[in-house]
Subunit: 216 residues, 2 copies
DNA sequence: GCAACATACAAACGTTCGTTTAATAACTTG
DNA sequence: CAAGTTATTAAACGAACGTTTGTATGTTGC
């Protein structure tokens, strides 16, 4: 049975080279072609392993997807935990968090694309898994940013932070084809700080004017 | 050959009821299960039409996807055109545009989900189609918001506006499962105005502090 | 009535899908 | 070295895939 049921995502260094090759190739292909459109034969051929190797290590194609998603969520949780604690002022904490999120998303952009593009889909094996992870992660926000007295509900704030920081990477493959080489905005250099400031300014401005009928 | 090659998206009222049924069912299933994971037999069964009907009207499964995407982009273009002209101050125009975008996305949320989840994928038949549409739409922004003198490059601004406004709807299916019924933030009522204000505050704050080393 | 055309249908096409099996090779451990 | 575990392989399974074909049915204009 090997270690297919450890529940872990990224195979450790002790894992066989074939398992690592399957994992990395899957991330690349799932992000580029989509999970459902990627076949086991294409995957095993690109990874340079036998067809049966994939199911040997991951149980099934869906098990491989779950391992990738689990890995992504685990990394996301680490970033959130690291940047939600501390004694900073809320605005500074928010800015630091968003910038850290942007950097994390960039470092795992293929995994992020997989997670985002599979997000709205209704696969019964994956649905509850995603919802549980989301519940857990959004719970981390509860007692830190804003608090119950905040005029902005956390159920607006959390998706806004995550999705607006992440979604750039969803458009990036199209941007690369649509924009001329070297266009400003394509490079990642200034993005974390820019998106963090955009959000912290927007959030503070939003909180100030929250009472004047924003629900119309 | 019927009208499968008209290039239009949404079939008109003159189109047969079967064609309309195929189109609407496809939007629902593609958004819920993903394009590649939705089979022609499942689609035709759910639509209550014969299997061959789909290819009769749309040429192929991909032709059906293209019709949906074309329809989505055409509607998006109309919203952008309607809200990018006028003599308003930039800030007011920006706020109005973002709110209108949010309302449009909500009105076609299934089509939006399809467009977003297919965005990063590399299907050779679809890739250039998406890039061309994006080039056209981002061109609409060029001479309106900010202008060449703006410290924020349009290639940062445009994806930011579109993706941060749209991506909420990508998370919404998960939010509905993860959050308790009737949680604040799940309802759409306040969203357009809120996201518009968040962005316009964020943008102005970003422009003010643009010179102090935001590229670190 | 009869072309001409648009729509609808059942059946079959060849291909690819994810998964399983059984056998063997390679490595680890007592 | 023997025993047992881990890893790899070729081959095959039934099921589902997107598409095509040939034919029926209905409609329109002559």
């Amino acid at each position: 049975m090997a270690d297919m049921d450890t529940g872990l995502g990224d195979p450790g260094e002790s894992a066989p080279a074939t398992k690592q090759a399957v994992y990395e190739t899957a991330i690349r292909l799932f992000a580029r072609n989509g999970f459902a459109a990627t076949g086991m034969r294409e995957l095993s051929r690109e990874a340079g392993v036998n067809l049966a190797t994939v199911n040997y290590f991951y149980g099934s194609k869906k098990g491989l997807l779950k391992a990738i998603l689990e890995d992504y969520f685990t990394g996301l949780e680490a970033v959130l935990r690291a940047n939600l604690e501390g004694d900073d002022a809320p605005a500074e904490k928010l800015e630091r968090l968003v910038a850290a999120l942007a950097r994390y998303f960039e470092s795992v952009s293929d995994k992020l694309i997989i997670a985002l593009t599979e997000l709205p889909h209704d696969d019964p094996d994956i649905t509850e898994f995603k919802a549980a992870r989301f519940r857990q992660l959004s719970g981390l926000f509860q007692n830190v940013l804003g608090g119950p007295a905040s005029p902005i509900p956390a159920s607006f704030l959390v998706p806004a932070i995550v999705s607006m920081t992440a979604s750039r990477f969803l458009l990036l493959p199209v941007l690369r084809k649509a924009l001329p080489e070297g266009a400003p905005g394509l490079d990642f250099a200034g993005y974390p700080k820019r998106i963090a400031r955009l959000f912290v300014h927007g959030f503070s401005g939003l909180a100030e004017g929250a009472g004047d009928g924003a629900d119309g």
